[in-house]
């Protein structure tokens, strides 16, 4: 029964979109990928400004600026902002992950050694709200939002968070920074269905083909560049990425 279903699956879904890897290796060199072109297509179909459901305006402003310093745009391609990383963070923190998915949450709570890992009672959502409130209060008192600082000054502030020792209303700044950085890298490189890695820009940048699955003919053609458009798990036959309608990852 399983075998029949598998064959049927390949016949109805797979055949239309999957080309043999051997043909792809012979295809045009890397320039054929044309990242700028794809990025333009992306920006034409997806508005630049996400709808934030979790972050308030001040939080979103800090997150957008900070993420872009963590993963800045450069000649290799867009940074966190262009890839939609803040949107990814917003949807993750507003969903199951934010409320403690996969996090054991029974006390008693006490701080441990670094090798014992995260021991704070905050869910990720609570941790971000608490830390961001403290961060933004700090900038409000100085009269200049984080986003208005120079890139160098922004980096210097992020380094003080990273180094630790700053208490953000009970959240150690190094813990907040670590979570922000980890989640930014996740949002940059994860499948675009989660609202980051918009139009697979990060995958194009490094040459990762994404969810594409068949390298049987390619694996022993050593040293040849594999030039293929990356593939998302949410793609239809026209290569449009469908976002879950229940998760307004972009509007």
């Amino acid at each position: 029964m399983d075998k029949f279903s598998r064959r049927k699956f390949v016949a109805t879904i797979g055949a239309a979109t999957v080309a043999p890897a051997s043909a792809l290796l012979k295809a045009a060199p890397a320039e054929a990928v044309a990242p700028q072109q794809m990025a333009q297509r992306g920006s034409a179909t997806l508005p630049a400004k996400p709808l934030y459901l979790f972050f308030n305006l001040a939080e979103a402003a800090f997150i957008e600026s900070a993420c872009e310093r963590l993963i800045p745009a450069d000649e290799s391609g867009p940074g966190a902002l262009g890839a939609g990383v803040p949107n990814y963070l917003d949807k993750q923190l507003g969903g199951a992950w934010g409320s403690g998915e996969r996090l054991y949450r029974s006390g008693p709570w006490q701080s441990g050694s670094p090798s014992q890992g995260y021991q704070l009672p905050f869910t990720p959502a609570e941790l971000f709200h608490v830390a961001l409130r403290a961060v933004n209060r700090n900038f409000e008192s100085q009269g200049a939002a984080f986003g208005t600082l120079s890139a160098e000054a922004q980096d210097a502030y992020l380094k003080t968070l990273e180094a630790g020792g700053v208490d953000l209303d009970g959240v150690p700044s190094a813990v907040f920074f670590d979570m922000l950085l980890r989640m930014s890298i996740e949002g940059f490189f994860s499948d675009p269905v989660y609202g980051g890695n918009r139009d697979m820009v990060a995958w194009r940048m490094i040459g990762f083909p994404g969810a594409y699955a068949d390298y049987y003919e390619a694996i022993d053609r050593h040293g040849e560049k594999f030039a293929r458009e990356p593939m998302s798990i949410g793609e239809d036959a026209l290569r449009h990425v469908h976002i879950d309608p229940n998760i307004p990852a972009s509007l």
Partner: protein, 589 residues
């Protein structure tokens, strides 16, 4: 209210690979068998289908296939002087859950241990003298030999269809295989997988240095295969989504693809999923098990009486089940007495990164979980340890399994952790780096052990398992030694920059290393230093068998699954041919 169910011949706790094989054999022999699985039933179709399974965030980062740590984590500390705290997020090791168990998400690396490993204490003393080891080391012989296990290794590998090249058939060295391996009775069921570029580069360099590279034995199959149970598998297409993922291609050997179709067709077997076993029940003598008590997903409590109880869950869970049930004496590290939880060991993982120029294109994403090339020249006791001050070793190999970028974006040491410099380095090195794995052995010691946590509890109110572990000096010295050898191979490959990362203390739960947790219900010939006899039968309660990597007295230089498969068939042999015909102790205490 506890509902008492009809008695059966055998109840099995955990329906992973061990549970599936045991259940299949005993059901086929005519016994009524119930398999209790805490997770869900799941199959290649419809659960494991692409493209949804190729989701790094869900499976790698969020760990969708793993034991539910919000309900059932472990607590951890490096030393008994510290307070253990819950591992609130899985990182260092990843026990699976659900039908098929952890083998659903394994990489398919299918090594045998060597003859030396099963008699490690005796042979170490013979070769290096009785004062060679550090005083804290508590290694011991297994009570079973390689020669006794060989037919069972063979049977397990033919069940899986493992793809590889023999290096020693009945004492004759075979070109292209591993010349260090202990003799096997015949060739692998299927030929090796294709070699990826990393493997080819490694092979050339290792050969130039006089080492003996060979293809990684892989249970992601090189060609279609029908196993002796009549179950068919497909050839692997190197999609690069093995470890932490289920396989949608029927190409990775898992319970679903090699044995469950046969087991589930046998009416002597009943699978019950969503059953959280609370304890093994004992009679008033405490020397006989009467069955198990479990709670289903709706919270209802059941007692399942059985003549024979087999715990076949992940190593850590086997240990906890015995502790929760009051079977045998818990280990006490102060006095060195007691046995349950004793000799917990792990795996000492180091790595080497070789960074190449831009014209060397690696394509790291083309891989199976076991399509690498490696050497055993520095594994086990394959080299002279005289004067080195440690035993054990590691296989060294270009055994890269994937290029999934959230986790895999190698950068040279000294690269900033973020910002422009980080991004440039990621883009520059992603497709031009070869990673070696140095898969190191792990000695058992007096201070590393498992017991029940006095404070933290699971969702059912039972104490969590408490792990006390740090890397022994023996293994840290080993890691430094083999990593230096790995760096030499990287240099011989012509890499522009080679960075070795020997495993260092303290052990941390925050970084993934491996899910090869072993020991705690170790096997042996002496009830004072083992929980189960050489047939994996409890010394204390003889109608309980404990089958898992929890039986390993220490861990060797290779992935533990093949040895577990061999032990499973070895135990089944004793169960079917001796125990069930005349229940009682198979070895007198």
């Amino acid at each position: 209210m506890v509902q008492r169910l009809k008695e059966v011949d055998v109840v099995i706790v955990g329906v992973g690979m061990v549970g599936s094989i045991v259940a299949k054999e005993l059901a086929a022999a005519g016994y009524k068998v119930v398999g209790l699985e805490r997770g869900e039933a799941r199959f290649t179709v419809p659960e494991f289908q692409s493209p949804a399974v190729h989701d790094e965030l869900r499976f790698d980062i969020r760990k969708a296939l793993m034991q539910d740590n919000t309900r059932e984590p472990v607590t951890f500390r490096n030393a008994s002087s510290e307070t253990a705290l819950p591992v609130r997020r899985w990182e260092s090791f990843l026990p699976g859950t659900g039908l098929g168990g952890s083998m659903v998400h394994w990489n398919g690396q299918t090594y045998r241990f060597q003859a030396n490993d099963f008699e490690l204490a005796t042979r170490t003393k013979e070769r290096y003298g009785k004062n060679f080891l550090d005083k804290d080391v508590t290694i011991q012989d297994w009570g079973v030999t390689y020669a006794e296990l060989e037919p069972h290794y063979d049977r397990f590998e033919y069940l899986l269809g493992t793809s590889g090249k023999a290096g020693n058939i009945k004492g004759e060295i075979q070109p292209g295989g591993d010349p260090h391996e202990s003799p096997r009775s015949r060739e692998y069921p299927t030929p090796p997988q294709k070699e990826h570029f990393q493997g080819a580069l490694f092979r050339k360099a290792a050969t130039s240095l006089g080492y003996h590279p060979f293809p990684q034995p892989s249970s992601n199959l090189s060609q279609p295969y029908t196993n002796p149970e009549g179950v068919k598998l497909n050839a692997c297409v190197f999609c690069g989504f093995c470890e932490r993922y289920a396989c949608e291609h029927y190409a990775k050997s898992t319970p679903q693809t090699v044995i469950l179709p046969v087991l589930l067709a046998n009416s002597n077997f009943e699978l019950r999923t969503g059953c959280q076993v609370q304890r093994i029940n004992l009679d008033s003598s405490k020397k006989k098990a009467t069955g198990v008590t479990y709670i289903d997903t709706a919270g209802r409590e059941f007692e399942q009486p059985a003549s024979l109880v087999i715990t076949a869950s992940f190593a850590l869970n086997n240990v906890r089940m015995l502790l929760l049930s009051g079977i045998d004496k818990p280990y006490n590290p102060q006095s060195g007495t007691g046995v349950v939880g004793r000799n917990y060991a792990y795996q000492t993982m180091s790595s080497v990164a070789a960074f190449f120029d831009q014209d060397v294109i690696i394509n790291p994403f083309m891989a199976s979980g076991a399509s690498g090339t490696l050497i055993n020249d520095f594994a086990g006791d394959n080299f002279d340890h005289s004067g080195l001050g440690f035993i054990g070793g590691a296989f060294i190999g270009a055994v890269n399994t994937n290029g999934r970028p959230i986790q895999y974006h190698p950068v040279p040491p000294g690269t900033p952790a973020w910002g422009q410099g980080w991004k440039e380095a990621v883009v520059k090195h992603y497709n031009h780096t070869v990673m070696f794995s140095l898969h190191g052995s792990s000695v058992s010691t007096r201070q590393n052990y498992l017991d029940l946590d006095p404070t933290y509890r699971d969702a059912w109110g039972q104490p969590l398992l408490r792990m006390t572990f740090d890397f022994p000096q023996n293994d840290l010295k080993m890691a430094a030694y083999v990593t230096a050898k790995g760096v030499e191979i990287g240099k011989a490959m012509g890499a522009k920059l080679v960075a070795g990362a020997p495993r260092k203390a303290p052990y941390t739960t925050t970084v993934y290393q491996t899910t090869h947790n072993t020991g705690g219900t170790v096997m042996g010939n002496d009830p004072r230093t083992s929980v189960v006899n050489r047939y994996l039968q409890s010394w204390d309660v003889p109608n309980v068998f404990v089958i898992g990597a929890s039986a390993y007295p220490q861990n060797a230089s290779w992935n533990p699954t093949d040895t577990l498969g061999a032990l499973t068939y070895w135990a089944i042999d004793a169960l079917k041919n001796r125990y069930l015909k005349n229940p009682g102790r198979l070895v007198s205490a």
